[in-house]
Amino acid sequence: MSRVRIPIGFVFSQSGPYQMMSGEMLKSARMAVDEVNADPAFDFEFVPHLRDPAGVVAAYHTACEDLIRDVGVDHIIGCYTSASRKQVLPIIERTDRLLWHPARYEGFECSDNVIYVGAAPNHTVVPLVRYMLDHLADEAFCVGSNYVWTWETNRVTRELVGGAGGRILAERLLELGERNVAHIIEEIIARRPPVVLNTLVGESSYVFMRALHDATIRAGVTTSVLSCSLCEPELKLIGGRAAAGCITSSAYFESIDLSENKAFVSRWKARYGADSSPSVDGQSTYVCVMLLAHAIRRAGSTETGEVRRAAGNHLYLSPQGPVWVDPDNNHCFLTPRLARSTASGQYDIFWAADAPQKPDPYLSALDATPPSRLRDIGAPSIDPHWQRRLH
């Protein structure tokens, strides 16, 4: 008996300012589709249709319109920036389709037609700043790309640091793609902040990390660099010692010591080369495809409402550990982790939450005022079975 062929949409920019990240996402999406299609546990197969908006925000709408009206997909996986997601929300909602969104983002959104698989702000910036306050310093120098992710990450940071009696020494913003970082490096060397919070993205971040490394060595200055977005493929682009020592908050690292992840990484390397690494957004894209496949199987349908209901609370053992969609807000329970980057382009994980944390896209459970130890963060406890599993 031939399997039902289900068309799904991929919207990933294959050129433009974040081409590298969305390229990694597409690689993971393709790998996941091949695995679903090869797995007899699914009585259907996915037929992916790729659209490439080339990093042009307006082109995302056209891409989705085309996928929905011409190809007839019910489910679209993709978008990387919030600007691109906001662009496609109206058509996705009007036609009642589901967008499976892999990238972490700044929160403050909750559409019934989006499954947010990437981390919410309580998974990323909150544990990172708590760690900083507990173990490093209560003063930070913020440098970031001039867009919504940086603005909101800095706002949360300011609130937490201010609540603990510390302060933000400076907030410096660079236009997306800007490569001239010299004036900011100069200021950092002059002011010697104990912590630099880096929310630059793409090339700006790589140039900054290299320049900061050189300048701190020359000036004999030590500072801790914090990030909630850097990932292994980017460490390789930064290169060598300049990429080492960055304290990063993420739900996924290649070095996660779980059997699901080891198997995932070895399948990845077999497919894309022993030197390549899956990224946090790539792994999340893989999880999107898998959550979709499981939900369609449980629903016995691709219809939006039924798939959304089937996805809610359904636990999937992903490479990053157990993941499930919170039906309260369509975001995912994920396990926040903190790690330190190494010169070999990997991460040493030194902290993980006891259990997957309830997503809090509006940070409505966040209390900035009392000094709180890292282990106190977060959310309702879950089945101790998963706590054991994670340790």
Binding site: F108, C110, S111, N329, S364, A365
Partner: protein, 201 residues
């Protein structure tokens, strides 16, 4: 008193005046996510109902006939978010009398509610500031004649020029941490027998 930032909506209470179950359930879900407590009132009760404790009200503007302004069980200082379906001028004219602090177009989606709440809290706080400022200015205007009388009395009693008399009143008011208007009232009431500030040496 420190006032809560309009951006922080968690822990506040909303009274939702609406009947449509779909709208109510969307609003309830989104308020839950925001950490806002919700009470619903379907506006059907006859006669007077007790004033509801709430920090904000969400009002379905299509719920009431337009011939009269509805009597809401709310402190008038509570900001109102209007939920608008019919955009006819007759309905909007009715709505303006309720002085909504912000609005949302129905059908309600999850997107927009947080902005509407923040706007409403912000507008309410700006309105409170403006009302306090107006009251302060009105008091000043009302006291203008008193100040003039006090200045004239000092000019006469102490042989001062008008600028010097006014400067003396202002300096004394500052030293006593009172207002020029209140001090002027005292000067007038006592026939100029109020101890005044020394000239700065």
């Amino acid at each position: 008193m420190t006032r809560q930032s309009p951006l922080s909506v968690r822990g506040r209470a909303a009274l939702v005046i609406a009947r449509d179950e779909r709208e109510l359930s969307t609003i309830r879900r989104q308020l839950d996510r925001l950490g806002v407590r919700m009470n619903a009132w379907d506006a059907t009760a006859d006669g007077d109902i007790a004033e509801q404790a709430a920090d904000i009200a969400l009002l379905d503007a299509d719920l009431f006939p337009i011939e009269q302004t509805p009597k809401l069980p709310l402190d008038p200082a509570i900001p109102i978010v209007a939920l608008i379906g019919t955009e006819t001028p007759s309905r909007l004219k009715w709505l303006l009398d309720l002085k909504p602090a912000s609005f949302l177009i129905k059908p309600i989606r999850s997107a927009g509610l947080y902005s509407a709440l923040v706007m409403a809290f912000g507008v309410a706080s700006q309105r409170a500031d403006a009302a306090a400022r107006i009251q302060q200015l009105e008091t000043r205007v009302r006291s203008r004649r008193l100040v003039i009388t006090a200045v004239l009395s000092l000019m006469e009693n102490r042989k001062l020029s008008e600028p010097a008399a006014f400067a003396l009143i202002r300096r004394t008011a500052m030293q006593r941490r009172t207002t020029i208007e209140e001090l002027s009232a005292e000067i007038v009431a006592s026939g100029g027998q109020v101890p005044l500030a020394m000239r700065p040496s």
